[in-house]
């Protein structure tokens, strides 16, 4: 059993989806157009639903009395295993959509690998999520093209957004712990994910002549180890306030 490696991996998948979903919810009531607001919320909803599926599984393996809600609402920042990319603030619409696209391209590649996982539970969750993320990726890719190839103003904002987020993409090519899980046929192969991610990102960037930065190098923080940027704590404070202030409250 690969439980020791599998639990952090499930948390990486679940926490990344949850934090990205929570960030999207911040647009509620603030999006530039009603259609965009609906789209952002729907993508967020898909991600929060997927997060619950991953965290349910993680909670079962942990078997310490906590359920998915307890994992989402009562873990501190250091216990979160999400990618650093998704915890970054939304910024303007260019930052939001660039972040979404960089994440979606990774997410899509990971889920494609996981849909063939030897762990049937993982394969089932991934196959379902993959259908949803196919739409996410198409939409965010189209936004990158629209903004990158749009007006001088939208392009300028994309040219600011990409380098601001790029350093966090170093995490999208996996880590050593995943290599073993991947060799066991459980996790997605990190090298294949990294290659598929880069191919997808460069194709969309190239299509509107957005320059592809050179590969991101080592960054001193690491979401997989619970070492986060200062933004995650604030996000969790807002997300967790109610369940922590009123434990076991029901709707």
């Amino acid at each position: 059993m690969h439980k020791e490696a599998l639990i952090p991996y499930l948390l990486l998948l679940g926490d990344s989806a949850l934090v990205q979903g929570q960030r999207l919810c911040e647009w509620c009531g603030h999006a530039p157009a009603i259609e965009e607001e609906l789209a952002l919320m729907n993508v967020g909803l898909d991600l929060v639903g997927q997060a619950r599926n991953w965290l349910d599984y993680a909670a079962e393996l942990l078997d310490d009395g906590r359920d998915a809600d307890a994992l989402a609402y009562r873990r501190d920042e250091r216990a979160y295993r999400n990618l650093l990319l998704v915890e970054q603030p939304n910024g303007d619409f260019a930052v939001t959509m660039t972040k979404q696209f960089l994440y979606d391209a990774w997410h899509f590649a990971v889920l494609q690998g996981l849909a063939a996982s030897r762990d049937e539970r993982i394969a089932g969750i991934a196959a379902k999520a993959l259908k949803e993320v196919t739409y996410h990726l198409r939409r965010s890719g189209e936004w990158v093209q629209r903004l990158g190839g749009g007006t001088d103003e939208s392009r300028r904002r994309m040219l600011d957004a990409i380098p601001a987020l790029w350093r966090f993409t170093v995490e999208l090519t996996g880590s050593d712990s995943e290599v073993q899980l991947a060799e066991a046929g459980i996790a997605a192969d990190p090298a294949a994910v990294g290659a598929a991610w880069l191919k997808q990102v460069s194709a969309i960037f190239d299509s509107v002549e957005l320059p592809l930065p050179k590969a991101a190098s080592y960054f001193y923080l690491d979401g997989r180890k619970g070492l986060h940027t200062e933004h995650l704590g604030l996000l969790l404070a807002e997300m967790q306030f109610l369940p922590r202030a009123y434990p076991d409250a029901t709707w």
């Binding site: 979903g21 259609e35 965009e36 609906l38 789209a39 729907n42 993508v43 909803l45 898909d46 991600l47 929060v48 639903g49 997927q50 619950r52 599926n53 049937e120 394969a123 089932g124 969750i125 196959a127 379902k128 999520a129 259908k131 949803e132 196919t134 739409y135 198409r138 939409r139």
Partner: protein, 177 residues
């Protein structure tokens, strides 16, 4: 068999009868989706299986989307309807595999969606719909194929927003997944 004949205390004691399952299916055909109240959970294809286990009705339900907020409501509605029809304590199993597909929406369900003003999913998910090619979506109001996509995401996660260029009505399209 009439409503009320199957009461809670009966069920554990006697063996299931052949017509019970057919009646349970008939009950489920009356349970409507809370967000699209013209299609039943059977039309949508989310009830995957129905059988008797240890004297109780056992259902397998597959959610449409991972984050669909109607999932719990649908499950509660199913439970209530079955209990009211005399099926005591039905057991609901939520199953993700195989993932729900719009291919499972019945022809009757598609017809009902169209009548309600929602364009049903076009074609099979196995091919182009997931690969980025735009499906040809006909306006549920006037039938015109001269339509355009406004947004990939409509009023719920399962729908996209379109507009008819003939009659100019905006409408929801049930996306292929």
């Amino acid at each position: 068999m009439r409503p009320g004949e199957l009461i809670a205390s009966d069920l554990g004691a006697r063996a299931a009868r052949g017509d019970d399952l057919a009646r349970a299916w008939a009950v489920l055909e009356q349970v409507m989706d809370p967000e699209v109240p013209v299609v039943s959970v059977v039309d949508l294809g989310i009830v995957r299986d129905l059988d008797w286990r240890a004297g109780h009705l056992h259902l397998v339900v597959t959610p449409t989307y991972s984050g669909c907020p109607a999932t719990e409501v649908i499950e509660a509605d199913i439970r209530d309807a079955l209990q009211q029809a005399g099926f005591a304590a039905p057991a609901l199993e939520r199953r993700l595999t195989p993932a729900w597909s719009t291919d499972w929406i019945s022809d009757l369900g598609r017809q009902r969606l169209r009548t309600y003003g929602i364009a049903p999913p076009e074609g099979s998910t196995s091919k182009r719909s997931l690969l980025g090619e735009a499906p040809q979506v006909c306006c549920p109001q006037c039938g015109s194929a001269h339509t355009e996509l406004l947004s990939q995401f409509g009023s719920t996660a399962c729908k996209a927003l379109y507009r008819c260029r003939e009659c100019l009505e905006p409408f929801d399209y049930f996306k292929c997944i």
